[in-house]
């Protein structure tokens, strides 16, 4: 037998490994849609994910109801009181909105539209399963007009942005993901900084505020919104609240722990804002 016939399997294994390495290289090229193999597999599995997500929501909901039934009355009283307060706030907000519209007309400003005109609602059907990344999979994709880098928000604030798009699915990289960074502004003082993901804080659903200016007076309780700097995220989207300020051992630098308004452990629906 020749050299190749004797070692046919070893050579085939090496060829397969080289093909996989080439695919790894090709997959890093920034195409408009996701890498074709990933797109094909996820497009096939998305309907199954959607169905199972609905089932798990139902099962989880039943268990939650049974466990929390005894707290229902107390929660009901609290919500009734909060509802009354919110109705009062809504009346105030409505009058401010009308005043805003009148002022805009007076200044002849063009309406920039509301989120409803340029947004796509989507359900979350999958969660990160490899323990190293923090992302969601939603049930809308390029066929619904979603593109990479579209911003994703919830009713509470920023969620993240679209990092991969398939035909009927898309992956959202969240702001607490370890590789994420968002330009933010402290609403009270106007100081700008960067909110980054962190492996340790990600477990608690939080992120880290870094590159804090030495002269910045950030305190616990400060609220943050996106600054629009860096052109990754538009300005003005609520991010979260500072819950802790940590100095390093030498006292030379510090960072803050931020609790996002969005509860990433209980997110079901999101809004994708088209660029």
């Amino acid at each position: 037998m020749s050299f190749f016939e004797k070692r046919r399997r070893i050579i085939l294994t090496i060829i397969i490994a080289i093909v996989i390495l080439i695919l790894m290289g090709v997959s890093t090229i920034p195409f408009k849609n996701s890498f074709f193999m990933k797109n094909a597999i996820n497009t096939i599995f998305t309907p199954i994910h959607r169905a199972l997500s609905a089932v798990s929501d139902g099962v989880g909901g039943c268990f939650n109801y049974l466990i929390e039934m005894k707290n229902m009355n107390k929660e009901n009283d609290r919500l009734t009181e909060e509802n009354a307060q919110l109705r009062h706030n809504y009346r105030d907000a409505e009058s401010y909105r009308k005043e805003n519209e009148n002022l805009r007309e007076l200044l002849n400003l063009k309406s920039q539209g509301t989120y409803g005109e340029n947004s796509i609602a989507a359900n979350i059907i999958g969660w990160s399963s490899d323990n190293w990344y923090n992302y969601y999979t939603i049930d809308k994709g390029s066929s619904s007009g979603i593109e990479n880098n579209d911003i994703v928000i919830s009713t509470d604030g920023i969620v993240g942005k679209v990092c991969e798009t398939g035909l009927n699915w898309a992956k959202i990289s969240t702001v607490i993901e370890s590789s994420s960074s968002v330009g933010v502004r402290v609403i009270r003082t106007g100081d700008v900084s960067i909110a980054e993901g962190d492996f340790d804080l990600e477990r608690e659903g939080k992120c880290k505020l870094t590159f804090i200016n030495r002269n910045a007076h950030i305190i616990v309780g400060d609220t943050l919104e996106t600054s629009g700097l860096g052109e990754n995220y538009p300005a003005g989207i609520p991010l979260g609240t500072v819950v802790e300020i940590v100095a390093d051992n030498a006292g030379m630098s510090r960072y803050a722990v931020v609790e996002p308004y969005t509860d990433f452990s209980d997110l079901k629906f999101v809004l994708v804002l088209k660029n």
């Binding site: 294994t13 990344y133 477990r203």
Partner: protein, 161 residues
Amino acid sequence: MRYVKTSVIVLILYIFQETLLSEFKPFGVVPNLVAVAVFCFSLSESEWFLAGIFGALCGILLDAASGAVFGLNALLCMGFAILCCVLSVKFFKGKFMVCLLFAFCMSFLYETFFYVFGFALWNNTDVTVCFLYKIVPVTLLNTFAAAILYIPVKKINEADI
């Protein structure tokens, strides 16, 4: 026929891992059931080449759902499947506790390699956090899953040989 049955098991595990397990996350992590199935299959397979092909295909499934570069899981699964098969011929000899030991060691090495090639090489050096809160819990959960998965996978392999 055994490859068809094993493939069906892998697909079911993949869907379970991607949906229910990744939503509820026992102990804050998701066990890698597909990788455990690869290890169990490789331990009861005598042909290392077939084990490698099976590992590569399962790895491609994991890559479709992973946030890492496409192909990393395929390479790791193929490599560890071949390693499991080659070592099992010499050391395994069908013992259940040795299977658990293999699953433990391979899971630990798999997650460590994933961290090194996915993060550590790119200056993400939260080593303590990654080991304590990701690698070790996943390894333990994978070993537990191997205890459940090994016997059905072994029976499928032996029934059709």
